[in-house]
Point group: C2
Amino acid sequence: MTFPTLLLEIGNHNVEVAETLIGVGRFLLIFLAARTLAELMVRLQLPTILGELVAGVLIGLSGLHLILPPETGAELSNWFTSTVASLSSLSPSAVESIYIETFPNLQSVATLGLFALLFLTGLESELDELVAVGAQATTVAVTGVVLPFAMGTFGLLYLFHVPLIPAIFAGAAMTATSIGITASVFGELKYLKTREGQTVIGAAVLDDILGIVILAVVVAVAGGGALEMGPIVKLLIAAALFVALSLFLSRTAAPAFDWLLDRLKAPGEVVVASFVVLCLCCFAAQAIGLEAALGAFAAGLILSGSRHTHAIQETVKPLVSLFATIFFVLIGTSMDLSVLNPMDPANRPGLVMAAFLLVVAIIGKVAAGWTYVSKEKTNRLVVGLGMMPRGEVGLIFLGLGTQAGLLTPALEAAILLMVIGTTFLSPILLRLVLSREEKLAEQLA
Amino acid sequence: MTFPTLLLEIGNHNVEVAETLIGVGRFLLIFLAARTLAELMVRLQLPTILGELVAGVLIGLSGLHLILPPETGAELSNWFTSTVASLSSLSPSAVESIYIETFPNLQSVATLGLFALLFLTGLESELDELVAVGAQATTVAVTGVVLPFAMGTFGLLYLFHVPLIPAIFAGAAMTATSIGITASVFGELKYLKTREGQTVIGAAVLDDILGIVILAVVVAVAGGGALEMGPIVKLLIAAALFVALSLFLSRTAAPAFDWLLDRLKAPGEVVVASFVVLCLCCFAAQAIGLEAALGAFAAGLILSGSRHTHAIQETVKPLVSLFATIFFVLIGTSMDLSVLNPMDPANRPGLVMAAFLLVVAIIGKVAAGWTYVSKEKTNRLVVGLGMMPRGEVGLIFLGLGTQAGLLTPALEAAILLMVIGTTFLSPILLRLVLSREEKLAEQLA
């Protein structure tokens, strides 16, 4: 069923019924799966985000095919389509069309969740601390970008004889740090406000900015077009301006925000005013060519100077609990784990390459933890491990490479494995390191 | 620009930039307009919801053309499209296509807001209070539903020759009582704990249940086209069973919910568990052929028996503040107020109809104040005026009718005028009556 046929049916009550059943049903599946596994993770003393990712894998492309992003191109579970079809008196194929057509609604809510999470991360950041760790964070970010990129690209070129462009692309995908996953793991382990936590968050934000610049360069190179300096310099200037401006505003704009908030009388003023600041910053970031996600973080940073920080946190947290969960589950649903099966000989070259990329991806970021100079004693392993998860940022690189037809299936699988591996290992290793440290501290006390 | 052309551009970074700018920009416009007018309303001692509605009118079809539901078919403000076009390096027509294509994302978030609001209304319903005022409240509620419905529907049918389905829909929209507005007005006037206040709140709660049952029946009938008795009886039974079951569950299921909540350990458990109950009830209602909105209200009613009601309210309120605002603003944006212009002779029938609906809407509810039997002396005018505001419940009816394409522009405008009129007049008249009474009491003392 194509769009025109579907459009003819709009206004049909059955279509509305199916839309509601699909929309509500997807929420139910996502939350039941995510929460069941999150509860399991809490009992295993692991971050809940792992539960959400696994939940996504279980109900997604590699599992039950209940939640399927349309770009996977896979077919929906028969059980799902036939249930909705019989309840709404539509054909299963019509149900599948509506499912695909309404999926962007779910994705936009997930994006809202990501923005809310980044906003909260910014809000909970100690600005003074962030500035104090500025030099360290910059060193960690730059090393964490250069090392994996160089090692990955040259390794693929000389060890695996991958052509230049795909090798560069894979190298670029290894530079990412998922600020969303990092922030939620550190937040859950109550490690966000430590010196290590702030260094990692600062470095992850810088990493995001560097990632955008790298992406612009790589896409230009891969597109066969000449490597023009103009746009790159423009991006770099925009990024620098953005960081400077949000640091400046976090000192000056918060009092103005408080002044306004004290004068607002309509109920719900805290959450609405915060949301407006969030939207303004996302719009500004996107308008100057950066990612909207950076704007969300900057908005939180700006309001971290407010007198109402606690009230803002309380109203934003429900949004994060609901919608960021959807974001992480959706990442899980799009993972194709069948490439991991070593029984299939076709997978083996990819698996070897994947093992190489994974090791390099881990070494590159962990090593970055040892590159900065600090007078105070910090746990460098925690910083390195915190930089490890590629998460959604790695997946975005992978998606762009696949779309551009730059990657062989083996390389695609290898990058995917590197992303999945780092994303899963980081919280597990962090938890291990931190709990061992807690025990040492207890023994000393 | 049509779909295929647009699809070719997917993967294009500029499209993603435009999508973000449009999505975030729409939120900004909606909240800036809604909040400015809500603050104005608070200062005029009028309900904020009126501000949200007027904000929608100002930025929508009847105003600046900044937020335009695609079904209006009108052209977007040139200022908006050219701004986004220049920031994203796309053509204005491409921007307009993306605007239309992504509008359902905004609508789905608005629906989420509506469900959250109805959930909260159910949650705040005091079942014990309702039982205590018992007979009086029931009489007021039933008369206040039957009178406006009968007078409105038959008047439209026989005086204005409106077809049956739209006439029934308009009649149904007149049965509503906004429990939110009623409660806030009585609270503001310190009249909530009086016998009149209790009766009105009890009747408004009952009215909400009756209204949603009527809504479920009317929408289902309208969707089916023909007015058959079989499906109506089936729906009435389903609706009655559904409400009875949720009343029963509010006594029995709430402890189970509390038991579960006490055992959940992953953060955000209150909002997620409540959201799951909400989704389950919406799915169940829709699956048996009722409106999902009924499920949302029932979910609130069920959880009103929980020990955690306060915590649930606190986590749901931010969702309502953000997303229900979008719902009400969107209703305003799709209103074509040009049909209210009395200078255009073509509009006069609609204006006459609006005047008729407004008068019937006032008479129907005020008369209900004189129908109950009470041994104690009560101010029946206060009860009647308290039942008058249609508020958000009337707008929900109107929004659903518009979405279903059931209403002519004239009838739409007439219902809107009736809703706005009763909602504006009720607090003003109540204040007049009560201050006169206070003066009398002072003179007697």
